[in-house]
């Protein structure tokens, strides 16, 4: 912490006075502080703002490398705000503090057979606030919608210490602006999320997963289209593409008779390729991509109908270039790619050129520092970038919250 006015020790003393001695400490060049509630969070942000110190809100630390690197003098940990504050199971809503690990929240909700219907990465460690700020979502989005559609309210603390509530605790509500939509996916650049209200779904009790295998993703294009065009409502569908071939997984939840009915329909749709019962473990595929050694992880967004052709093109490209590409794609148009043995810059340019004309995008999530250097992580070419900057300026005029992390260096 080296601003002209404050030494690291002075900063520590001031922050300890807010959050308590036990909850502030020096870590390298930053002070890490863990406030107990929104009010202490507000005090910390006001202190930071007055002294021109950059703050990075921190949850489980699982996605800190997403976006541009931030040099912050204060690491604001949400670890002490980790309670499920309210579970109104008859109304199917809950209020959870932002520092609550995702899986811990789900365990609590499961007591009444309910769930926040989203399957984010590293649920044991990732916190509610972090998942929301990074707008992570997995395969369940096909059936239950995006994260923003599951959030019905929030408490946020702005850079100037304003504590604001948005939305509410009811599922249907159009009073005022939906600031929680703005905060979802804002990567901690507009405010610190301290509490989130979710709408809940009944947990899926009985599920069955089937898998089909093929040499080339293009073979899946027709059956996948037929599946999505059918009246079946699978809770998850994913395409896995790797060195050894491609697989398509389908999960159905429901009562016994409905699952049997789906089995019949699926075997018809996939009659040529063949589909067999498989294990729930296949749904860990997206997360496993991050374990690949020295991989650059990209998130590509595309039109649903492009998922199969793009997967096939990627595999072809990898073969001709001698590079390694593995990917896991969801049929609503999101794909996670692990790129190995190839510098990502040229690849990124090519893939963006391929996807942009139809509104797609590619974002670099994880990469070694060496690979990341010089990359345009976000690749945001939106004509609304000016408007986004203006929103940032209004919310955080002194740029203390995760400065530079987001699109257009916001």
């Amino acid at each position: 912490m080296s601003t002209a006015e404050l030494t690291l020790d002075e900063g520590l003393a001031r922050l300890a006075a807010i959050a308590g001695q036990a909850h502030a400490r020096i870590r390298g060049e930053t002070v890490e502080v863990a406030p107990a509630d929104a009010r202490e969070t507000a005090a910390i942000l006001r202190f930071a703002q007055e002294n021109g110190l950059a703050v990075t809100p921190a949850g489980g630390g699982t996605k800190t490398c997403w976006g541009n690197p931030v040099e912050a003098q204060i690491r604001l940990s949400l670890e002490r705000m980790s309670a499920v504050r309210e579970h109104s199971w008859q109304d199917m809503t809950c209020t959870v503090e932002a520092g609550c690990p995702w899986a811990a929240m789900q365990t609590q909700l499961a007591r009444h057979g309910q769930t926040v219907a989203l399957d984010p990465l590293w649920p044991e460690r990732a916190t509610v606030g972090g998942v929301v700020a990074a707008n992570d979502s997995g395969a369940l989005r096909l059936k239950y919608g995006a994260l923003r559609d599951l959030i019905i309210g929030m408490t946020i603390v702005l850079a100037d210490g304003t504590v604001a509530k948005t939305g509410g605790k009811v599922v249907k509500n159009v009073a005022g602006y939906d600031l929680h939509k703005l905060m979802t996916g804002s990567f901690g650049t507009l405010g610190v999320i301290t509490e989130v209200n979710f709408r809940l779904h009944p947990a899926e009790e009985r599920t069955q997963t089937w898998t089909a295998n093929a040499g080339d993703a293009a073979e899946f294009a027709e059956p996948l289209r037929a599946l999505l065009d059918s009246q079946m409502v699978p809770s998850a569908v994913q395409l896995r593409v790797g060195k050894d071939g491609c697989a398509l997984d389908v999960r159905v939840a429901g009562r016994g008779e409905a699952i049997e009915d789906c089995a019949r329909r699926l075997s018809k749709i996939f009659s040529e390729i063949g589909m067999v019962p498989s294990s729930e473990a296949v749904w860990g595929a997206r997360q496993e991509l991050y374990d690949a050694a020295n991989a650059t992880i990209l998130k590509a967004s595309m039109l649903p109908a492009e998922v199969c052709p793009v997967s096939a093109e990627l595999r072809h490209w990898a073969t001709t270039e001698g590079a390694g590409v593995q990917c896991v794609a969801y049929p609503f148009g999101l794909m996670t790619l692990a790129l190995q043995a190839a510098p990502p810059a040229a690849f990124l340019v090519q893939l963006r050129a391929r996807l942009r004309p139809t509104g797609g995008s590619v974002v670099v999530l994880a990469a070694s520092d060496e690979m990341r250097a010089g990359l345009d992580v976000w690749g945001c070419d939106a004509d609304a970038l000016g408007l986004m900057r203006e929103i940032k300026r209004r919310f955080d005029p002194n740029r203390i919250l995760n400065p530079g992390r987001f699109v257009g260096n916001i």
Binding site: K172, V174, A258, C262, K299
Partner: protein, 483 residues
């Protein structure tokens, strides 16, 4: 009256046939569905293209002239009420469906397209557009986007925001921006998510990409008659607690049934609380679930249960429900429609309290509600010709909204805040919450030209210091210090 040079500029922008300035013609635009608020606009323009909208908005920006977008004018909260002496931008002529992409499940439409036309357009391919406000045969997609409109089937399918993938928007400066994308998660802030439901205060939507959904294999609709709306409400809670997600769960009380019967002869059973349950999905699943619904209804004392046996029967059931607001005109000379939301479990207490409050002031309240998501539409019946009754009715309707907030709910589930509920928004949200919303407003519209003096309880200027910090009472008292 607008200055002649401004009139000339507007004429230049939209052509002679796109401009209305005659007093009698302007009167058509002086209110929306909330007819007790009326303001005569300075001019109405009817652009045909995005470029024309941009040209008009630029003129407004140059002259600091307020403008109000308008779809079909069916809004129930005064959202399309003109600004005094300002310009009304009617999107009625921008009514083309521009693109349909079945492979990617979306359509691109202009804002003046009527809601029901979207579903009609894609029906042959087995698709539909899910949000279905009762006004769907007349209201526009632009209005739906501005209000984040709902409908009976939003319980399962979600609101307008769930189905809006991307927007082309003319900002209040006249600049054109594209928010969101048909491909998910475009990098940057989710401005499409923020724009939907902003009630025309952030700009004019000129193109909208909507998600379309595959029609379910089967749809089954069941009517169950109970002695009280509370018993119907308990059945709703039981259905949800059993883990089911019906596509619609609606309740009507005696007065509402009476009105609907008078208007469209839906052949509803005469009862204290009528429950309408619709399930859709795969045939095998729907049939099994409907058996459970029936059992739950019987457990709660349903004395008549009917399952619609044909598409015509189903349509008639819905016709009665969707006509309910207007039908109330048959049993009362005047009425106020409200739109509160409560946690579903608060239904019995809230209904009892509404009944009590109405009895005290000797007025009748008819109740229609989207019970699955706790969205009440209390209809306060009154007679304007009886002196003082309108004030009493208005007061009652606002007190009902406060009751909803006090019960942990909201002042509006789908009709928006508009002009009508500005003060009530101040009851629901604290000053810092409103100030934070205002930051968004100021980023989009620093001059407050787009639908000014709506939604927020008091006029604010963007130059006002944003986000005031309210000191903790202990601090003010000098008892504690934060640092």
């Amino acid at each position: 009256m607008l200055h002649p040079t401004i009139i000339a500029e507007l004429r230049e922008a939209v052509g002679v046939d796109g401009l209305i300035t005659g007093a009698s013609q302007l009167q058509t635009y002086e209110c929306d569905g909330l007819t007790n608020f009326r303001v005569l606009p300075g001019a109405v323009v009817l652009p045909r293209t995005t470029e024309q909208v941009q040209a008009v908005v630029r003129i407004c920006a140059r002259h600091k002239l307020p403008f109000v977008s308008r779809g079909a004018g069916t809004g129930l909260s005064g959202g399309a009420l003109p600004a005094e002496g300002g310009v009304v931008i009617s999107l009625a002529r921008m009514n083309r469906i521009l693109e349909v992409d079945y492979a990617n499940h979306y359509v691109i439409v202009e804002p003046g397209v009527i809601n029901a036309h979207v579903s009609q357009h894609v029906a042959a391919q087995g698709y539909f557009y899910a949000p279905d406000p009762s006004s769907q045969s007349v209201c526009t997609i632009g209005g739906n986007v501005a209000e984040n409109s709902g409908g009976a089937h939003c319980l399962k399918y979600g609101f307008t925001v769930t189905h809006t993938l991307a927007l082309e928007v003319v900002l209040p400066s006249g600049e054109l921006v594209h928010l969101g994308s048909a491909a998910p998660d475009s990098p940057g802030y989710d401005l499409a998510g923020v724009f939907v439901g902003s009630e025309g205060t952030l700009g004019v939507a000129t193109k909208i990409t909507l998600r379309i959904v595959k029609r379910p294999e089967v749809v089954q609709t069941l009517l169950a008659a109970f002695d009280t709306p509370q018993a119907a409400g308990q059945t709703v809670s039981d259905i949800i607690a059993a883990g089911m997600l019906p596509s619609a769960l609606e309740i009507m009380d005696t007065l509402a049934i009476e009105a609907a019967e008078a208007a469209v002869h839906a052949h509803y059973p005469k009862c204290g609380g009528l429950l309408l349950v619709e399930l859709d999905g795969q045939a095998s699943e729907v049939e099994a679930l409907m058996r459970d619904v029936r059992a739950l209804a019987e457990q709660n004392g349903a004395w008549e249960i009917r399952l619609a046996q044909s598409e015509q029967e189903r349509a008639l059931i819905w016709k009665g429900r969707k006509a309910a607001f207007a039908a109330v005109g048959r049993i009362s000379p005047n009425y106020i429609v409200q739109d509160g939301v409560i946690p579903r479990t608060a239904l019995p207490q809230v209904l009892a309290e509404i009944e009590r409050m109405a009895a005290v002031v000797e007025l009748r309240v008819a109740n229609v509600f989207h019970a699955g998501d706790g969205n009440l539409h209390p209809l306060v019946l009154y007679n304007r010709t009886i002196e003082g009754q309108e004030e009493i009715a208005l007061d009652l309707s606002y007190r009902i909204l406060h009751l909803c907030v006090d019960s942990g709910g909201s002042i509006t589930g789908e009709h928006g805040v508009g002009k009508e509920k500005q003060q009530a928004l101040g009851y629901m949200f604290a000053e810092p919450d409103l100030a934070t919303m205002q930051l968004v407003r100021c980023a989009f519209d620093p001059e407050s030209l787009a639908n000014p003096d709506k939604v927020f309880p008091r006029p604010r200027l963007c130059a006002d210091r944003p986000g005031p910090y309210t000191p903790h009472p202990l601090e003010t008292a000098g008892v504690a210090e934060i640092f």
